[in-house]
Every structure is written in structure tokens, then in C-alpha cells.
């Protein structure tokens, strides 16, 4: 449809985004653009406002300044449920799962929510229905098919993170906000999970990724945003960000 060199509407845009609680400015003047299919890595020290940024983008928090657009549509006034229905999916730093539900039920809930079919509330979900099919495919895509009947809470850390991705796949979210997807994951699982996330982006999904593993961020992200004390310190390609003087000063010798 659009010519290759024509500038496309970014999948996600934040303009002058700010958030304050009482007198405390948690986030201020954040401008970001993420083109469709790109991955934006968000890094910064603890308390820099990374999770707040994600909460603003997903609609859990309302900004005290600025606007948020999804594919050109202003969604600043919409809440989390409405944004989810517009294709925003997210994970949480702590847990995005339902521990006593089975692995399949976790993914199916996402599929049903997305397709607006928590209709037929009273009906027993049948193995043959559409949501179950979507959920099973999502589990297969992350390699959790054989564990479908297990309670989600019984999975290993790495498998829990995979299930979170399966939930996002089943929900058909096009914009993924991932809050530390590698937290608590064994070293040997980091690479397969990184590949999974990369695969999601290559399929055209837009990803915003908070992550402490710099190798993961550098491997996945087209651009990196550095937050420090609620402000956007730098935003550019991984090379630009790493070479940035201010970033170097803020991290003061920490290995980037």
C-alpha cells in the first residue's frame, strides 16, 4: 500500500509524557516514537521511571502531561481495558500469570478476551472451539504444548516467561510492552527467550522492552531509550546510546 520510502505512522508515539504523584515528578517530557515492527529497549537505573512509562503506555496510569498515540490514534484518555482491545499487550515485572489456572486456560483466557468472546459465560469451554485452537497454537509456538494441562504456577521460571509470551500471542496483541521478561530466568534460557521475542517482532509486532540484560536489549532493539530520574537521557540506536557521553556519565563505569 505505502511506498517503501514513505514515512509511515509510528505504531506507538509518546509526546511530552509526564507523570507526577503529589509533588513528586516520576516522569517528565518523554518523547518516543516506535515504528511498527520495531523493538524499543528501555534501560535505566532502578527508580528511573521505566515501569511507570510502561504503565502509562498500557493505560494503567493516566499521564499528568502529554499524549499517547497508537498507530496515529490518540488513546491518552483510554483505560487499560480499552487499550488492550486496541491491541496493546503487556507483561508485568512480578507475574503476568494466573497460577492455579492450567497453562492452556491461561492462554485461552487471552484468546477469549481478544476475540471479545467471554460470551457464553456459562458454557463449558470445549476442546474444539476457536479460542482453544488459538491458545493451543500459541502454546505450540513457544514450545509449551506438552505442558498445557499443568497449573501455570507449577512451571519453571523460564517456562513461565514463555507462557507470558504465549498469552500475548494468543491475545493477538500487536504492541507488546514487556517488563523485564528475563527476570529470574536461568542463563541457558535467556537465548531461547530472546529468540522468541525477536520472532514476535519479525512477525510485525511492535515491542517495548524493559530489560537489565544489556546483551538482550542490544540484540533485540532497533533503538534504545535511556531513562534517568524520570527523564529521557538519550534515545537512539544501540551504538549511539552506548557512545553517548551523558549515558556514560549516568552509568559511571558500569558495563553497558
Amino acid at each position: 500500500m505505502t511506498a517503501r520510502d514513505e514515512p509511515q505512522t509510528p505504531a506507538l508515539t509518546a509526546r511530552g509524557l509526564g507523570f507526577r504523584v503529589g509533588g513528586a515528578q516520576i516522569l517528565a517530557d518523554v518523547d518516543l516514537e516506535v515504528p511498527a515492527g520495531h523493538c524499543l529497549g528501555v534501560i535505566g537505573p532502578n527508580g528511573a521511571g521505566k515501569s511507570t512509562l510502561l504503565n502509562l503506555l498500557s493505560g494503567i496510569l493516566r499521564p499528568s502531561a502529554g499524549t499517547i498515540e497508537l498507530a496515529g490514534r490518540d488513546v491518552t484518555a483510554l483505560g487499560a481495558v480499552a487499550r488492550a482491545r486496541l491491541g496493546v499487550g503487556r507483561t508485568f515485572q512480578t507475574s503476568s500469570l494466573f497460577p492455579t489456572l492450567s497453562v492452556l486456560e491461561n492462554a485461552r483466557l487471552a484468546a477469549e478476551a481478544r476475540h471479545g468472546t467471554v460470551r457464553g459465560f456459562w458454557h463449558r469451554p470445549r476442546a474444539s472451539d476457536e479460542a482453544t485452537r488459538v491458545a493451543s497454537e500459541a502454546l505450540a509456538a513457544v514450545g509449551l504444548g506438552p505442558l498445557a494441562a499443568r497449573p501455570a504456577g507449577a512451571l519453571s521460571h523460564g517456562d513461565k516467561r514463555k507462557l507470558e509470551l504465549a498469552i500475548l500471542i494468543a491475545s493477538d496483541a500487536r504492541t507488546l510492552l514487556l517488563d523485564e521478561p528475563m527476570a529470574g530466568v536461568n542463563t541457558e534460557n535467556v537465548e531461547p527467550l530472546t529468540d522468541l521475542i525477536g520472532g514476535l517482532a519479525r512477525q510485525g509486532r511492535t515491542v517495548v522492552l524493559i530489560e537489565h540484560h544489556m546483551s538482550v536489549v542490544v540484540g533485540l532493539a532497533e533503538t534504545i531509550a535511556v531513562l534517568d530520574s524520570g527523564r529521557l537521557l538519550a534515545h537512539g540506536t544501540p551504538d549511539e546510546v552506548i557512545a553517548n557521553d551523558e549515558v556514560q556519565r549516568a552509568y559511571l563505569g558500569q558495563a553497558l
Binding site: 488492550a84 482491545r85 508485568f92 507475574s95 494466573f98 497460577p99 478476551a113 459465560f121 469451554p125
Partner: protein, 301 residues
């Protein structure tokens, strides 16, 4: 031995009523973080709804039919009271948990006062079948029929609730909301509807609890204060069982019911102390809080 078996049976029946009262409370807290003090009012209104319906039936109505209709009226009355409470008072206060708790306390006080003013403290009698007052021989033990009714009510609701929560789509949404409400919203599910439904289910069970309590344990006398009396034990059961856990509520309800009956009988007999059942329950609560602060089935979060 005979006495022990009778006590056990009576304790199980009491536990069944505690379960009916506690499970809705537990679901509401688990999903919405609301300590619902209006739950006592749902129970009381359930019992009064049953009584009110019975007074409008022709005298020729068979007593079993009357009781069945009383049960329906109690369930409907509790559910309706809960629906109105949620829609009119709780919903406008989302995001203000303290206000929500306070409004439920205020409602409860107001309704108790209205019932006291309208009907008096202890003057109404709920019509129940004569069969309730008789007893059935099971082996060598004579078991009161009314206890069977309470027990059957509790078991039927437990099975139905477990089925609903595990096998239906909406039940799964409710369980998911209890476990991780933020994520349910993030998936695009409007949990507001789940809030209302959980209130209605909890109110229906509370209404049934109020009616069965009157029919089985109070000598058929209605009191505007009975719901609040039950509510204290329902809260204890919820905390012992673990907030948000239906199975926890069921197990804790049986434990508390049995403990109260054993302690009241043996303790009363040997120590001559009539409130020993209540005291034991509070001691059990303290013990559980000391050892497992999240309750028997509570999850670490």
C-alpha cells in the same frame, strides 16, 4: 461415642452454614479487595425474605413446598440486596477501598436498625416443616433432620460453586481476577462485570446461609442481628481458610464448626464455661495467623 458422633454431625452442619456465609465474602475480597461488612445484612435479609414469602402463602401450602419457596426467596433476596449494594454503593467508589468498606458498614447498620424498628428484636418465627424438628436414626445415633438440611445445602453449593469456577468461562475469568486482577484488565477483560457477578453470587449464598441458620440453629426465630453474629465467624473462617480460596473456606468452615461444637459441649461440661466454643475459635484464628499468616490455603503473592 454416640455423643461424639452427634456433636460431629452438628458441627458439620454448622460448618456448612459458615461455608455459605464465608465463601462469598472470600471471593469478594479476593477479587475486589473489599471487606464486605454488608454480608451480614445479605444473610439477615435472606432470612427475612424467606419469612416474608411464607407469610403470603395460603395456609394449605404443604410445609415442604413452603420451605422450598423460602429457600428461593432467601437466595433471590440475598442476591438482589447484593446487586443493589454493588451497583449503587460500591461501583461509584472504585479506587477508594476505605470508602467501600465504610459504606458496607453503614449499610449494614442501617438495615439492622430498620429491621429492628419494623419487626422488633426477636418476635418472628420462620415456618419450617415439622420434619425438621424430628431426628433420624443412623445406626445407633439419633441425628437431627435439620442438620441434614444444612449439610446438604452446604455441599450442594460447594459442588456447584467449584463447577462454576473451574468449568465455565466466566468462572475462569473470576479465578483469574482473584489471582491477578491487573493482568485480566491488561488482556482486555472488563472485570467490572465480574465484580457485579461475584457480589450477586456471594449475596445469594449469604441469603441461603441466613435462612438455613434460622431454620436449623435458632429455633426458627428471626433476629435482625443474626447476620452480624454469623458475619464474625464468616470472617474468621475466611481468614483461616485463606482470602480468595473457596476450598480454604470450606475446610476452615468445617474446622471452626466442629471446634465450636466440641468445645461448647466438652468444655461446657467440664469447665462450666458456656462461651468456650467462641473462645476456642478465636484462639484457633490467632494460632493460624501465627503459623500461616495467609491462611491454610492462602497463596504467597
Amino acid at each position: 461415642m454416640t455423643i461424639f458422633l452427634s456433636l460431629t454431625f452438628a458441627g458439620l452442619a454448622l460448618g456448612a452454614v459458615y461455608f455459605l456465609a464465608a465463601s462469598g465474602l472470600s471471593l469478594i475480597y479476593g477479587l475486589m479487595d473489599i471487606l464486605n461488612f454488608a454480608h451480614g445484612m445479605f444473610m439477615t435479609l435472606g432470612a427475612y425474605a424467606g419469612w416474608d414469602l411464607a407469610t403470603h402463602l395460603p395456609a394449605s401450602t404443604p410445609s415442604a413446598v413452603t420451605f422450598a419457596l423460602e429457600v428461593l426467596a432467601a437466595v433471590a433476596g440475598g442476591a438482589l440486596a447484593a446487586l443493589l449494594t454493588e451497583v449503587v454503593f460500591i461501583r461509584p467508589l472504585y479506587g477508594k477501598p476505605l470508602s467501600q468498606v465504610l459504606v458496607t458498614i453503614g449499610l449494614d447498620l442501617a438495615v439492622v436498625a430498620l429491621l429492628l424498628g419494623g419487626f422488633g428484636a426477636n418476635s418472628l418465627s420462620l415456618p419450617v416443616p415439622l420434619w425438621f424438628l424430628e431426628a433420624t436414626h443412623v445406626g445407633s445415633v439419633l441425628l437431627p433432620n435439620a442438620d441434614f438440611v444444612a449439610l446438604v445445602g452446604g455441599v450442594v453449593v460447594l459442588v456447584a460453586l467449584e463447577w462454576f469456577l473451574r468449568r465455565t468461562r466466566f468462572g475462569i475469568v473470576i479465578r483469574a481476577g482473584v489471582e491477578n486482577r491487573e493482568m485480566v484488565s491488561a488482556l482486555g477483560v472488563d472485570v467490572g462485570r465480574a465484580f457485579t457477578l461475584v457480589f450477586v453470587i456471594g449475596g445469594a449464598m449469604a441469603g441461603l446461609a441466613g435462612l438455613l441458620y434460622t431454620a436449623v440453629f435458632t429455633g426458627d426465630l428471626l433476629s435482625p442481628l443474626q447476620g452480624d453474629g454469623l458475619l464474625i465467624f464468616a470472617f474468621i473462617v475466611v481468614v483461616i481458610g485463606g482470602l480468595g480460596s473457596i476450598r480454604g473456606s470450606a475446610v476452615a468452615a468445617v474446622v471452626v464448626g466442629l471446634l465450636q461444637d466440641y468445645a461448647n459441649y466438652y468444655g461446657g461440661q467440664h469447665a462450666g464455661f458456656s462461651e468456650i466454643g467462641n473462645l476456642s475459635t478465636v484462639l484457633l484464628l490467632a494460632l493460624v495467623l501465627e503459623i500461616r499468616p495467609r491462611g491454610l490455603f492462602g497463596r504467597a503473592t
